[in-house]
Amino acid sequence: MASSKKKETPKAKAPEMERMEVRLAGSGGQGLILAGLVLAEAAGLHDGRAVAMGQSYGPEARGGASKAEVIIADQDIDYPLATRVDMFLALTQEAADTYSWDLKPGGWIVVDSDLVSHPPSSRAVALPFTATARDKLGKPMVANVVALGAITELTGVVSRKALEKALLARVPKGTEALNKKALAAGTKMAKDYAASGQLAGQEPTSEDV
């Protein structure tokens, strides 16, 4: 499954997808379960694929490690959890350390550049999700949406249209404009990163997988 090829295909038409495993990990309260839900609804309800989403969290009432996994495929999904992660997003150092052991060789690793000082791989794409949400959008809580915009732009795992529809259906009334801005900021961040040439040699190729 070559994710890099999907980026080139027109976003309106969902390309064939065998099985794509996305893991979103961080700390309780960062909105990763919600981000997973938006991604799963975008893929399942708007792109028309089969989808399964698992979640995992610790026994703490607040804080603690939190993880959402979204499996996207065109055929029926039997095993519903991740086995070889194609796309790993980590928003804390703890999550980056804890959940990076079963990534697909050559798979995507995306981390928050301010909260993850030691990415699990030198190939990791480090982007300022939380800083952008806080400083440019004035709401640190939309860092999850900024990240969603970025990883979707990088991997093409769901179409941009589906993502926006799913997002706007999930967020509280009155926050639509803010969330659209956050999504756009994430998309731009990823585009700029790709344009800067830093992705060279980092994009997964079919040889890697």
């Binding site: 799963a40 609804e41 399942g44 309800l45 399964a52 995992s56 039997d78 095993y79």
Partner: protein
């Protein structure tokens, strides 16, 4: 019952009418199944990983004009359900291991008083507080034998979000039909799993209600039965007076020790269910016809097995799966058939062998039965199952 018949107006009902694809969590689908089956009373105490059911019912029950009560603990929760059921309500409570342990006494009470109700136990790691947020399948034998005294048990176990809905409807129908408590035994993975599902419209479902007396109150003999062995249940408060007790009772509901009344009581308690085993024992087969090695599994582990069957066959190992949707009564005939003519049977489960011992019991020399246990708070992966194939193939 007047309040209970008000038009459903909740979010659930609205979404359900459309019959469109939705992304639902297992716990949500179970709640929707309960509502579709006519659940109109919920009492519970939230606990991970079953809290979403309590949360969902706390929103939906009041909207439908039905009671939702957050009780002081799980003992009181099932107690409230027993009372509500005797008063004519379709009652449910939802909990996990620690709460399920507390419920065992009243579960036996519901059994002997022949009170229809549904108890959800979403399994997590135990014993005691154990691993609250991790998956396990350690309550399988507890669901069968947790309450004391010999008794029948009906336990359904879903492995997907859509099965959560279907089996919950069936749990209510079974409880009402046989006048008995039914246990819905899910696990953390399935309860928290979100999948795309299209639920049937509420009008398309078969919904069974308990048989109520047709005679006037003065003629009502509460535990007298016709050929069905299932007595008719009058709603308390409707003028039918009867005695409810945890003691073994005669036809009129009063305690008895007379062997000529005790023996028929037990015979009826078991017989009303055992004569309908065929309707109760649900299984699904995956690639079983030409399988050389059969996997027998249930709940989330059945999902691991489905993947193992697919991957195994890609590598030339002829695997098949018998998935148990009913754990109790144990689907003996289906298991016997699945074991016959195979090289070996592997029983993967998240405990030290609670179902594999049952498979061995019915195996009776047919094939080699191997347990595959895992107790680390995570699911069995398909590769772990395939890793055992060297021993059996």
């Amino acid at each position: 019952m007047a309040a209970g018949t008000s038009k459903p107006a909740g979010r659930a009902a609205k979404a359900n009418r459309k019959g469109q694809a939705r992304l639902l969590q297992g716990n949500e689908a179970a709640s929707l199944g309960a509502l579709a089956a006519g659940c109109n009373f919920f009492a519970g105490y939230p606990i991970t990983p079953a809290s979403e059911i309590t949360e969902y019912m706390s929103r939906e029950m009041p909207v439908r004009g039905n009671p939702f009560i957050q009780m002081e603990d799980e003992i009181a929760s099932i107690g409230a359900c027993v009372g509500a059921s005797l008063a004519g309500r379709k009652a449910m409570t939802a909990t996990s291991g620690p709460g399920f342990s507390l419920m065992q006494e009243n579960l036996g009470y519901a059994m002997i008083a022949e009170t229809p109700l549904v108890v959800v136990n979403v399994m997590r790691g135990g014993p005691s507080t154990g691993l609250p947020t991790n998956v396990a399948q350690g309550d399988v034998q507890q669901a069968r034998w947790g309450t004391h005294g010999d008794h029948p048990a009906i336990v359904f176990c879903p492995s997907s979000v859509s099965e959560c809905f279907e089996l919950m409807v069936r749990a209510f129908n079974t409880a009402e039909r046989f006048r008995t408590p039914v246990i819905f035994l899910a696990d953390e993975t399935v309860a928290h799993l979100r999948e795309k599902v299209i639920l049937p419209a509420e009008g398309d479902l078969e919904v069974i209600d308990r048989r109520r007396p047709t005679v006037p109150p003065d003629w009502y003999v509460p535990y007298k039965t016709d050929g069905s062995l299932i007595p008719r249940l009058a709603d308390l408060g409707e003028g039918y007076r009867y005695h409810v007790t945890g003691l073994v009772h005669d036809e009129r509901g009063f305690p008895t020790r007379r062997p000529d009344e005790v023996e028929p009581f037990y015979a009826r308690l078991f017989g009303k269910i055992s004569r309908h085993f065929d309707d109760l024992m649900l299984t699904k087969e995956y690639s079983l016809d030409d399988a050389e090695i059969v996997l027998i599994s249930y709940g989330c582990t059945a999902r691991s097995c489905r993947a193992a069957v697919r991957l195994g066959r890609e590598r030339g190992i002829k695997l098949g799966l018998l998935q148990l949707l009913t754990l109790w009564p144990f689907p003996r005939q289906a298991v016997e058939a699945a074991l016959t003519g195979r090289k070996a049977a592997l029983v993967p489960e998240l405990n030290m062998g609670q179902i594999s011992r049952e498979v061995k019991r019915v195996n009776d020399g047919r094939t080699q039965v191997i347990r595959h246990s895992k107790m680390d708070g995570t699911m069995i992966t398909p590769e772990e199952i395939l890793g055992r194939m060297r021993e059996v193939a």
